[in-house]
């Protein structure tokens, strides 16, 4: 057990939880004018996997990406500014909540087309392999992503080339409001799909950050040693509605019993309890940590909200790169 690492786990879990709660609280002000998918309840998957990676490793994600972005070390103020449509946002206000990026920490992009960044992560690992680098790529996606053809195309090529890529499936049981049982046969697991490609597949409790980090570390180690890709199935649960700041028990597509049972298995509370028991932290330390994060989050919101919006000229900027990289660099 590594004490500084464990303290960082808790800090990241709390940061994601507090940021998402603050977004939920302020969302009804109607100033964050973009679809926003909150990950409250799913923090441990993001943190456990990202803490198994190095800063030079890269991560891709999907529509519910705030946790992944923050866990990889993405800039908080630029994320909030992006959601507020400010030019200081990580995508200059052109992407919104669903298009986060921070290349400086290896968070290479999130997009809301289900499964779409999976081949990109494979491609990043392919690029590393072509250049002989020992970096690892990880991609987060949900249980519905395995229903897309490109998921299988990606796994097949990752196996063919034994690429250093980690496929992280956050199984939260629903694709928007459609349950897993309406989409996939109960007779085979998500891991079976990866095993069908000949890939190592591991299942771990997605609400237990220590368990997640443990399987992720093994996968990253195997990938870095040339052992090829790994598929991780991490069951977890989204507490709020698919998109937006509210609870959605009233919609009736999932029972109050189910929601409450998952809330009792809160990933943040679980980590706090374990770390208190192990005396890695004490109650006063957690209180100070929370206060420190809350201050950071308030500052980030204040900075984001006071930043300018993109001006009209920004509309047609970045359609094309306007850049060229000569193949004979030495002669130009």
């Amino acid at each position: 057990m590594n004490t500084p690492d464990d303290a960082r786990l808790l800090r990241d879990l709390l940061l994601i939880r507090i940021v998402e709660e603050e977004i939920a609280k302020r969302y009804p002000e109607q100033e964050m004018r973009c679809p926003t998918h909150l990950c409250i309840g799913q923090e441990a998957t993001a943190v456990g996997v990202c803490r198994a990676l190095q800063e030079t490793d890269v991560v891709f994600s999907g529509h519910r990406s705030h946790g992944h972005y923050l866990a990889k070390g993405g800039d908080l103020t630029r994320m909030i500014a992006e959601i507020y449509g400010r030019v200081s946002g990580c995508s200059r206000g052109k992407g919104g909540s669903m298009h986060l990026i921070d290349p400086s920490v290896g968070f290479l992009g999130a997009v809301p087309i289900v499964s779409s960044t999976i081949p990109m992560a494979v491609g990043a690992a392919f690029g590393f392999a072509l250049r002989g680098e020992s970096r690892v790529a990880a991609v987060f996606f949900g249980d519905a992503a395995v229903e897309e053809g490109v998921f299988h195309e990606s796994l097949a090529f990752a196996m063919l080339e034994r690429l250093a890529v980690i496929f992280v499936c956050e199984n939260n049981l629903y694709s928007v409001q459609t349950p897993l049982s309406a989409r996939q046969p109960s007779s085979r697991s998500l891991c079976d799909l990866a095993r069908g490609h000949g890939m190592t597949a591991e299942h771990a409790d997605g609400n237990d950050v220590f368990a997640v980090r443990s399987v992720a570390r093994a996968a990253v180690e195997r990938a870095r040693q040339g052992g090829g890709p790994t598929f991780l199935e991490l069951p977890t649960y989204r507490w709020l509605e698919h998109v937006g700041p509210d609870e959605d028990g009233a919609l009736g597509y999932r029972s109050a019993e189910e929601i409450n049972a998952w809330k009792e298995r809160c990933p943040v509370a679980h980590a706090q309890k374990v770390l208190l028991e192990r005396e890695v932290v004490d109650a006063a330390g957690i209180g100070a940590l929370r206060q420190n994060i809350e201050d950071q989050v308030q500052q980030a919101f204040a900075a984001a909200k006071s930043a300018p919006v993109p001006d009209a000229a920004e509309l047609l900027t970045h359609v094309f790169t306007g850049g060229r990289t000569p193949i004979d660099r030495e002669s130009l």
């Binding site: 200059r92 392919f126 690029g127 990289t325 193949i327």
Partner: protein, 349 residues
């Protein structure tokens, strides 16, 4: 030094130079390293550069486009090939939603330098799913550069420019151009991805043409010249962005416009060129502009139907005559079957 090369040889030489000069470049596509070498356009490259950089790939167009894109995001410069334009349709999600928008939707904080080479497979009964010419589709997507070289010289220069461009470029290559030869310098040179080329100077009618239709336009020009009509042939080369300045310069001189495109008519390149010229130089036009393109139907297989489907020089001559208020010219019999590019050709493709 300059010598004659075929269009396919020019593409191959450009690729060879890019692979030699830049270690981040690699070529990937079904059949790229095989003996046929993508109709000769990658022939011999695997021997020189090895199977890691001159690669075959699984038949998984969408996934492999994402793989190419992902590698580009970490600094590689892939050239991805498809033996038919039609096969790239499986990859439209990665091309349209992702590669085209990557730079813009992340506020300029990321770049996706990648080349996608798509081949139009007209002729020898290729039929509804092996002969589509979908440049208008791709050109409609903001962020994608779409280029269609006609000559061997442009094929080499535009492929080098495409590899060097820091964004995604779709290069659409007409199969009937592959054996056509022109003077090509041995060294590295660039042909810009946003400039048209005046392929023939003339004062009576502007014929703006894409890709292989430039060849047909030049054939039409010979026939028309015998009748005292001199057309100016503008080879568009770049579909997106469109070189509107070159078009306006020509139309201002001739006052008449015909657009000859390899695709189908409605919502096509012809529609866009006519619209842009009409918006910006309506008063310069002395006659309604005309489009020459395939009818709005899938491309049929039977030779008898494909003869009707693919426009040729004669249709361009007819359109030029109409612009000038002249009756249509008489058709002259063609010496060889019309479903192949030249009399030496034998099937299959």
């Amino acid at each position: 030094m300059t010598r004659e090369l075929s269009f396919a040889q020019a593409l191959c030489e450009a690729t060879d130079l890019c692979l030699s000069r830049d270690p981040s470049v690699y070529v990937m596509g079904l059949g790229v390293p095989d003996v046929k070498g993508l109709f000769g356009s990658t022939a011999g490259l695997v021997k020189k550069h090895g199977p890691r950089r001159v690669r075959d790939m699984p038949t998984a167009e969408n996934g492999m486009t994402g793989v190419a894109l992902g590698s580009a995001l970490v600094g590689m410069r892939p050239i991805l090939t498809h033996q038919r334009v039609d096969f790239a349709l499986l990859a439209m999600e990665q091309i349209v939603n992702q590669a085209a928008k990557w730079h813009y939707m992340f506020g300029g904080n990321a770049r996706a330098p990648m080349v996608m080479r798509l081949i139009v497979g007209r002729g020898w009964g290729q039929g509804p799913q092996h002969a589509q010419s979908l440049q208008a589709w791709f050109a409609h997507v903001p962020g994608l550069r779409v280029a269609m070289p006609t000559t061997a010289y442009d094929a080499k220069g535009m492929l080098i420019s495409a590899v060097e461009d820091d964004g995604p470029v779709v290069l659409i290559e007409h199969r009937w151009l592959y054996n056509l030869r022109s003077e090509v310098p041995e060294e590295i040179y660039r042909v810009p991805l946003d400039r048209a080329r005046v392929a023939r100077v003339g004062g009576d009618v502007t014929v703006a043409a894409t890709s292989y239709m430039t060849v047909e336009a030049l054939r039409a020009a010979q026939q028309l010249s015998r009748r005292g009509i001199e057309i100016e042939v503008v080879d568009l080369r770049s579909i997106n962005p469109l070189d509107i300045d070159a078009l306006l310069a020509s139309v201002t001189k001739t006052g008449r416009l015909v657009v000859a495109d390899t695709g189908t008519t409605s919502f096509g390149v012809g529609a866009e060129v006519v619209a842009r010229v009409s918006e910006e130089a309506f008063s310069e036009l002395n006659a309604p502009p005309r489009r020459v393109a395939s009818p709005d139907a899938p491309s049929p297989s039977a030779p008898s139907l494909s003869i009707e489907y693919f426009p040729r020089a004669l249709e361009i001559e007819c359109a030029v005559h109409a612009c000038l208020g002249l009756p249509p010219p008489l058709a002259e019999p063609c010496a060889h079957p019309l479903d192949i590019p030249d009399p030496d050709f034998v099937g299959p493709f």
